[in-house]
């Protein structure tokens, strides 16, 4: 049985550059259920990490508008003390770079134990140590007793990421946010870490937000996928739908630019991702990358359209999109 864990409504996260605020996350709405992995894909600058930090309330100098309901409670607008009660307990996060995410001067055991001290103060020291050892074992680090006393620099990247995961799951969180958890790791380690995250999700029955730029990772892990471009969600759908029937031009282009079996030429997306300051705040943000599509195909204020149950696409341009080269045209949807 899936319950709605997290509901984000019209979230807007803006950073100040010079005298103005620029939204890095612009009008994002989504939901996450328990025992579900929501994949968020996007290239650098798409706002996916800014979104993760917004949910955890980790931005120190950003303006956040909109609501983030966690089990009905709006965590975007609560006191720091209340938020701290949730963070590390109900909500937890796995970071991208395990090299910098751990305090270099603190023993591994103490770093994991800190989460327990904060949220389970009733635990005795002995219980706590037992639990930490159990956690180290749970994330499959060999020789827990030994690692407990070690410092981060003594561990490999993969092992450090396991420690970061152990910290995150210490209090059996209901919602786990993994921000590019395997980008800094080798592919064999990546496979192990991803399997671990999936198993933990099943065991804890939690909801997971998996942020990545790697379409393969999403295909393997996610139940539902949101594609982000320039601060917005451009398409969101159940994973099979998204990969088999992608609609938004960006999703399609992205999928075509990854090498697959028997592909001669990779698809190239024209132009570049606009910078935060230069981002058009009106009209379809992807329009400049597909100049061959008629301007009238785009909406003035593009919205998410529900094309089938659970499948949303932003802007009407999707129904007029085709790839400029002949060979790809056959696949394009709604040739005009």
């Amino acid at each position: 049985m899936r319950n709605k864990l997290l509901e984000i409504n019209n979230l807007k996260t803006s950073f100040r550059i010079g005298d103005n605020y620029y939204a890095a996350v612009d009008d994002v709405s989504l939901t996450v259920n328990n025992n579900e992995i929501l994949g968020i894909v996007g290239e650098s600058g798409s706002g996916k990490s800014a979104l993760a930090f917004s949910i955890m309330g980790l931005h120190t100098r950003a303006k956040i508008e909109g609501n983030i309901f966690y089990k009905g409670q709006d965590i975007a607008n609560i006191s720091p003390a209340k938020l701290n009660k949730l963070r590390g307990d109900d909500l937890a996060m796995i970071f991208q770079d395990p090299l910098t995410a751990l305090n270099p001067l603190m023993r591994i055991g103490d770093q994991i134990a800190e989460t327990l001290i904060l949220h389970k103060p009733e635990m005795s020291q002995k219980q706590r140590k037992e639990r930490v050892l159990e956690l180290i074992d749970l994330v499959r680090i060999p020789r827990p007793e030994h690692v407990y006393e070690q410092f981060p620099h003594e561990l490999s990247g993969g092992m450090r990421q396991r420690v970061v995961i152990a910290i995150a799951i210490a209090n059996r969180p209901d919602l786990l946010i993994a921000d590019e958890p395997t980008t800094a790791l080798d592919v064999t380690i990546q496979a192990q870490i991803l399997d671990l995250i999936r198993e933990l999700k099943n065991d804890l029955d939690s909801g997971v937000i998996l942020i990545t730029h790697d379409l393969g990772v999403v295909a393997e892990m996610a139940d539902r996928v949101a594609v982000m471009y320039a601060g917005q969600i451009v398409e969101i759908a159940e994973v099979h739908t998204l990969f088999e029937n992608p609609l938004h031009p960006y999703t399609k282009s992205l999928l075509n630019s990854v090498p697959t079996e028997g592909q001669e030429k990779l698809h190239v997306i024209q132009g570049v991702v606009p910078s935060l300051q230069k981002l058009p705040r009106k009209g379809c943000r992807f329009a400049a990358r597909i100049p061959w599509v008629d301007a009238s195909a785009h909406e003035e204020y593009p919205e998410l359209h529900e094309v089938e149950p659970g499948h949303f696409v932003r802007c009407t341009c999707y129904s007029h999109f085709y790839f400029p080269d002949e060979s790809k045209e056959a696949y394009a949807h709604g040739n005009s």
Partner: protein, 320 residues
Amino acid sequence: MWKFIVRRILITIPQIILLSVLLFLLAQAMPGDALSGLVDPNVSLEQKNALREKLGLNAPWYEKYGEWASGLVQGDLGQSFRFKMPVSDLIEQRMINTFWLSLATLIITYIIAIPLGILSGRYNDTILDSSITGYTYIGFATPLFIFGLVMLWVFGYQLQWFPTSGSVTPGLEPGSFEYVLSKAQHLLLPAISMALIQTVSTVQYLRSEIVDTKQREFIITARAKGASESRVYNKHILRNSLLPIAAFFGYEITFLIGGTVFVEMIFGFPGMGQLFIESILLRDYSVVNAVVLIFGIAAILGALLSDIILSLVDPRIRIK
């Protein structure tokens, strides 16, 4: 860690030897030699030369160095030309004075530096921080000797809160309470003057350590654990920032050495720095040599101490 420390100590030995060679060669280059202080100026040149030969003063430099160095090891710093007494006797009381002055300075330096650095780093870019950085800013640009003069003028002469020279009021019984009190009183103004200038680098260092640590990623991890801001500060930021400060300690000695020369001159404080200047002016080079050597060794040991502290507090060096 032990290997690191042993290796570090092994580096210290050639440093000290090199320092002594350098000083010895400098002494050779100095006008006049041990003889000029020993004999009557009216003795004829031939007699002098004979005496030189007899005393081994015409030997090649490395032989003379060997002799000098073996004397050093046995605590023989040579003879003062002017005072006709062993340099070690001359230096002893001065060294004790300078030691207390340095110690007082160090203590005051840290008493000022730690709270200011922490406040400035924690509340960076606030008015509090601006005033503290303003102080360090001006402190950096103020030469110690000017500041010392102004302090002497204001607190010594105008307000007359402190004595204006010497290390103790004459005529007091050594060891009595009044004696100790008077010593402390004489010490305080020069120590405060030196500390107020010296401390600015530590304040700034601590501040930038804290500001840097604040932006490190593991701080975000700590926040994501649900740690309150005060806990994040005390458990992560402060701890991580104070460790390098501890390692800074030994290097302070190097800074102190330069400072004592000025401060002792300004406040007429009979320490090693003052002795150094006096001896240079009197061309009493064996004393000069001894003072520089002692200060040099102190600086070398200070640097050694810093590195050892660092290796003890930083697990990245400790566990290798």
